[in-house]
């Protein structure tokens, strides 16, 4: 048989060859441009929060006109970098939430792009676990506006190999501007005690965040004289929990604590409490502190049962002074509406501290920026004056409790551990 050339095959080979040549990345980058990426679930159910987080980030860049003047501390050379912001999505519309594949792709995009100097993200602690080792090897400074799982930064909080497995090079590159869940868990218990709670029933959604915070709440209850009646995980894919709530009602708790988020059925649990005739309130962590919670639970349900939410920082309506107020005013001026969600402040804060780190490093160098960022002390930001500790955690320890009044979350009180 004579040798015949298949036309489609030739075309395919040609396309692949052209693609390989054209698709080769420029490994040098653009000398005057610094790219900062964020990786947040921009589609799916967390869209509302990430919209305001990215608004907060953009506001920080907008403030300086996307131009950053720096002085190299070594050589004294003055330069102006153009800032570029890439808003990456680690969720897919089909999944409705972050996916491992998407988060890996984002981390790899940041790693291979020579202009990327910082990575703002993630929103979900589970997603951070995926991208942290990749960015750690690349030496990129990563700062999260929303990850609250303690095991990401501190030993003894999670599995035995945590957090060293996220730092394969041994150096710290991950920091966060939001306080962690262990503190939030203890402050929740403190607040419950102040509300007069004696018996508590604990539920969680069986996820890293929800399960983690529920475990802390459970562990801290004896310290504050509260009896734990029981602790169960729910299946967040289930649609209603009438049988479960019937069982809990029989134990007559003073409070039901749910370690979980709006997306893992906090609203439905509240509805089913009403359905079985319970009258005690429910408390949840910051994953429930959002407008979506009120929408999914329904305003009429929230009139029947009080709902308390803790938040790892101060909500917008508590930012009445100093830099916090300044931030709210600037945000309102730029977006023609005040921030719809408290995470806006943390998006802004993460971007601010990143800019500060680049300024201090004085050059476009991933490692210099990482070192400068983690050395930030007494930083005056929108959430107060704080520092990064040796693990990359913020030293800001003030949290807040809010409750629903007339269909909206209202700041109820600041929460702080009693002085030791």
């Amino acid at each position: 048989m004579p040798f015949r050339v298949s036309v489609p095959l030739v075309l395919v080979v040609a396309f692949v060859a052209v693609g390989l040549v054209a698709g080769r990345r420029d490994t040098r980058g653009r000398p005057d441009v610094i790219t900062i990426v964020s990786s947040l679930p921009r589609s799916g159910s967390a869209r509302g929060q990430t919209d305001v987080i990215t608004n907060g980030i953009k506001l920080a860049f907008h403030d300086i006109g996307y131009k950053l003047d720096v002085t190299d501390p070594g050589t004294g050379e003055k330069r102006t970098f153009t800032l570029e912001y890439l808003d990456l999505d680690d969720a897919t519309a089909a999944a409705g939430q972050w996916t491992i594949e998407q988060e890996i792709a984002n981390a790899n995009q940041a790693r291979t792009d020579p202009d990327v100097m910082a990575y703002i993200g993630t929103y979900n602690s589970g997603a951070a676990k995926v991208s942290m080792p990749i960015l750690n090897r690349a030496g990129i400074f990563m700062v999260s506006p929303a990850n609250t799982a303690p095991a990401l930064t501190r030993a003894g909080e999670g599995e035995r190999h945590e957090p060293m497995c996220y730092r394969p090079t041994g150096v710290v590159n991950f920091a966060r501007v939001i306080p962690t869940d262990d503190l939030q868990g203890e402050l929740s218990v403190l607040w419950a005690r102040d509300l007069g709670v004696k018996k508590i029933y604990i539920l969680d959604d069986n996820e890293v965040y929800g399960g983690g915070i529920a475990a802390v709440v459970k562990a801290k209850c004896p310290k504050y004289g509260i009896t734990v009646l029981g602790h169960q995980s729910i299946d967040s894919k289930a649609q209603e929990f009438t049988p479960l709530m019937t069982a809990i009602k029989a134990m007559a708790p003073d409070l039901v604590y749910f370690g979980g988020t709006t997306q893992t059925k906090a609203g439905q649990l509240l509805k089913d409490m009403v359905k079985v005739g319970m009258t005690c309130p429910m408390m949840g962590p910051d994953g429930c502190f959002e407008k979506a919670m009120i929408d999914s639970a329904g305003k009429d349900t929230l009139e029947k049962l009080p709902f308390y939410a803790t938040f790892g920082g101060l909500p917008i309506d508590a930012l009445t002074r100093g830099k916090g107020k300044e931030f709210v005013d600037k945000y309102t001026a730029l977006y023609k509406a005040p921030p719809a969600d408290a995470y806006a402040t943390y998006g802004y804060e993460a971007a601010l501290v990143t800019l500060e780190a680049i300024r201090r490093a004085g050059k476009k160098d991933r490692d210099a920026i990482r070192v400068a960022a983690l050395a930030v002390k007494n930083f005056e930001g929108a959430t107060g004056t704080w520092s990064f500790d040796e693990n990359g955690d913020t030293t800001n320890q003030t949290m807040s409790g809010s409750t629903v009044v007339d269909g909206a979350f209202k700041f109820s009180r600041a929460l702080q551990l009693p002085a030791k």
């Binding site: 169960q232 649609q239 479960l244 929408d295 329904g298 305003k299």
Partner: protein
């Protein structure tokens, strides 16, 4: 929760969970009937059925939105609105189901069995995305129009609310009406004949296409009724409820013997009971695992389902 939790009266507790389970089960039954009837007539697993159910709930929600009802108000106005929603969802889902059959399954009637099956999966995804577009990705609150108060005394040991009564009041008459229709009307007889042997039925002068259209209409109508009932009972809907409830309902149909109407109801009631009792006696997070474990065990011993082999007629 410990296994066999210590409660004042174990029998009353058991009764309470049986009531909850049967209520939930009868809701699954309405959806399961649509799977089993369509399978009985055309031997197709209509995967899009659960998604038709989901779209029905959005029809009802849209009506509530248009009227501007967010919470319970004047009881007579609410009752009229609920009836209107039932009618609208039933008509919508019935029509949609017929349309899907006409446009997608009918041209594939004589194609290999896998072709309509894969098309059904495709339709399910299309409807899922319509629902995503319609209602958004998050859970949506469905107005809580029925009182949550116990129909007995608030202090009574057994709790049975207006919502539970509504579920039973919608599902049981519909299932009775369906039984009467299939057993005693000429169209029902034609359906049973088509289910047994479509070619012979056609030779006897039965218009099998009419029978198939009727089957899809009835299945869709039941899904429409189920969707409003679900919304009023659970008070939350999202585009994902189609897949989740569809899976349970399909499981119920298989458990009871797919193609068998009483079987689907029986299977659904068993699933309702397993989720409810499982939640109390085993643990909330194991309920779905338990349902499918029981499905596997039953299918090992009775491969054609609980009632599948006993009766020969499929509808």
């Amino acid at each position: 929760m410990p296994l066999f939790a210590d409660t004042p009266d174990p029998w009353l507790t058991l009764l309470q969970y049986v009531i909850l389970g049967l209520t939930k089960g009868s809701l699954f039954a309405l959806i399961a009937l649509g799977y089993t009837m369509v399978y009985g007539i055309v031997e197709l697993i209509n995967f899009a059925h659960g998604n038709v159910f989901m779209l029905g709930s959005f029809v009802a929600l849209t009506i509530f939105g248009l009227v501007g009802v967010e919470k319970a108000g004047d009881p007579f106005q609410d009752a009229a609105l609920i009836v209107a929603c039932f009618v609208a969802a039933i008509v919508f889902c019935g029509t949609l189901n017929i349309a899907v059959d006409r446009v997608i399954y009918k041209p594939l009637r004589n194609a290999p069995k896998l072709a309509p099956l894969v098309s059904a999966i495709g339709v399910a995804y299309i409807f899922d995305n319509v629902g995503l577009f319609w209602g958004g990705p998050q859970d949506v609150n469905f107005p809580n129009l029925l009182p949550d108060a116990n129909l007995f005394d608030e202090t009574a040991k057994i709790r049975f609310t207006a919502k539970d009564l509504m579920v039973v009041g919608v599902t049981v008459p519909l299932m009775l009406a369906l039984t009467v229709f299939v057993k005693f009307t000429s169209l029902g007889t034609a359906m049973r004949a088509t289910a047994q042997n479509p070619v012979a039925a056609q030779l006897m002068g039965i218009n099998t296409e009419t029978v198939i259209a009727t089957t899809f209409a009835i299945g869709g109508a039941l899904a429409g009724a189920a969707s409003v009932t679900y919304g009023l009972y659970v008070n939350t809907i999202s585009y994902q409820i189609g897949f989740q409830n569809g899976l349970y309902a399909f499981t119920a149909a298989v458990l009871g013997g797919i193609g068998n109407i009483p079987g689907a109801v029986l299977g659904a009631l068993i699933i309702g009971l397993v989720t409810s009792l499982g939640s109390f006696y085993v643990g909330e997070r194991w309920t779905s695992a338990l349902v499918f474990a029981i499905l596997i065990v039953i299918l090992v011993f009775r491969p054609s389902g609980l009632l599948g082999s006993r009766t020969r007629e499929k509808v």
